[in-house]
């Protein structure tokens, strides 16, 4: 199957969405695409079958004991988690460059503002999460990313995330 995305989507959907009505299946498939894309994007020469096996195994574990429409909700939460992580990672990387002085704060302020806007857009969805632990974790990710954007935008007197402080302290 290699990195044939459509084939991978279908294979995962067959495992995850069987028995659901058309509406739920369609929604579930959109979340699966987000998750599977994360497995394969920029994977380089990592064996695609390894990625599929690991990704599917983790996915099954994450939605174990969840069935029906709730499974779609669980997939939505996982897709949201991946989206938040990607954004958080972008903010951290941007701020790391400023700390390292490989880039100037001024030159990435536009990017930091764009990330901050995305954080604002994601927050309402995160706040609606029913899983308290997940909500807390994603809020922490977004708050860290927000602090990093503030650090880039506001300058030297700003507070920063603990992870950025640990990075600057290395």
């Amino acid at each position: 199957m290699g990195d044939n995305r459509e084939a991978r989507y279908k294979a995962v959907a067959a495992e995850m969405l069987s028995g659901l009505n058309d509406h739920d299946s369609a929604e579930g498939l959109e979340h699966i695409k987000v998750l599977v894309d994360r497995w394969y994007d920029h994977a380089g020469d990592i064996n695609p079958d390894d990625l599929f096996r690991i990704g599917l195994s983790d996915l099954k574990e994450a939605v174990a004991n969840v069935s029906g429409a709730k499974r779609v909700q669980a997939l939505a939460e996982l897709a949201l988690e991946r989206t938040v992580e990607t954004l958080s990672s972008q903010a951290f990387r941007l701020a790391q460059g400023v700390i390292d002085e490989t880039t100037s704060a001024q030159s990435v302020q536009g990017e930091a503002s764009a990330i901050a806007d995305k954080i604002d857009a994601l927050l309402p969805r995160v706040k609606l999460l029913h899983d308290v632990a997940l909500k807390e974790r994603l809020l922490r990710e977004l708050a860290d990313a927000d602090l990093e954007c503030r650090y880039i935008k506001e300058g030297d007197s700003s507070i920063m995330s603990i992870r950025l402080n640990q990075y600057s302290d290395r």
Binding site: D50, L51, L123, D156, Q166, D169
Partner: protein, 337 residues
């Protein structure tokens, strides 16, 4: 906005080993009345010093600063005795008028030792390190571990790698945490009420001028030992492995120590990172991780990874930094012959 000071951009950031009392307690120290300090340093006994530190009229920050100065003047061992006495006095069956440690208004300060590297000597040479006190306010809301308990748990599990120290993390109850935040931003658009509360509801931690502030209201039993472990990592560790692997290994070690101490019911705040590290440990064991974490044997870790795992260390680190757990796990699979 706070006064502008030398920033990480302007100056090579201070390493944790250089984190000083001035950096940590700069603001709180300024808030201590000189008369209180005069009284404390001229108090002849541990009991009287303990009573002065337990004065309910003092704010937690003032108490923290006073204890800091006492530790600086008299040394860690002396401060620990004073604190131990305060702790004893704060027990429910102690004399009336002394409130418990988990009372936010009278929280006892807790000694926090700087790393041995900061002073260029080991703990085995009989020289006590300087101390930085921290305040634990707002307890009772969450089941976080007290620093003394956490230190023992870590020492029992990892003392053979290095003498465990508490470090410079400032662990604060909700009210103190908010106050620390608003001391910086209270008059700005980023104030707690206008910004944090509205946007995120609460905040688990932030860093300012090199000090990490952790909010116990969002803490669990793993929080304090986890943060303490960060302070025990070798100075080269975090830079070598990156932020995500650092969190994953720290969480792995936290769980190992708590399990060994028969603690149960822990939930990870870094489940994805922890999951990758658990998979990695299944392939190469955890000894290379511990040796690198505590002793700085980074090259041995890199070699162990490259010898036993399918991917290259450099790629694994990159995928961890990108939070791509699936790809990181694939790179950490065992080499098949």
């Amino acid at each position: 906005m706070a006064n502008k000071q030398v920033s990480p951009r302007q100056q090579k950031p201070l390493r944790s080993s250089q984190t000083s009392i001035a950096r940590h307690a700069g603001a709180p120290v300024e808030m201590v009345e000189s008369s209180e300090w005069d009284l404390l340093k001229t108090s002849p006994t541990i009991q009287s010093q303990s009573q002065l530190l337990g004065n309910p009229a003092l704010s937690p920050i003032q108490r923290q600063a006073l204890a800091s100065q006492l530790g600086h003047l008299s040394g860690n061992r002396h401060l620990q005795r004073v604190l131990a006495h305060s702790h004893e006095m704060a027990k429910p069956d102690a004399q009336p008028g002394i409130q418990r440690e988990d009372d936010e208004e009278t929280a006892s300060p807790t000694a926090v030792a700087e790393s041995e590297e900061e002073h260029g000597h080991s703990h085995g040479d009989g020289v006590e390190p300087d101390v930085i006190p921290q305040t634990e306010g707002g307890a009772g809301k969450k089941d976080y571990l007290e620093t003394t308990v956490a230190l023992k748990v870590l020492e029992d599990s990892f003392g053979k790698y290095k003498k465990m120290i508490q470090g410079t993390v400032s662990i604060l109850g909700q009210a103190d945490f908010q106050a620390a935040y608003d001391k910086i931003y209270g008059e700005t658009q980023y104030s707690w009420e206008k910004y944090i509360k509205v946007k995120f509801g609460n905040l688990g931690g932030f860093a300012y001028k090199g000090v990490n502030y952790v909010n116990t209201a969002i803490a669990s039993s793993t929080t304090v030992p986890h943060e303490m472990l960060h302070n025990n990592a070798h100075s080269s560790w975090a830079g070598f492995v990156g932020s995500e692997m650092n969190e994953g290994v720290t969480e792995y070690l936290t769980f190992e120590a708590l399990k060994a101490a028969k603690h149960t019911g822990m939930t990870s705040k870094y489940p994805e990172q922890y999951g990758v590290i658990t998979a990695l440990v299944a392939v190469m064991g955890d000894e290379p991780l511990k040796e690198a974490y505590f002793k700085g044997s980074n090259e041995d870790l890199r070699k162990a990874f490259n010898q036993k795992c399918r991917g290259a260390w450099v790629d694994f680190k990159k995928k961890m930094d990108e939070k791509n757990w699936t790809q990181a796990k694939a790179l950490a699979l065992p080499i098949t012959k």
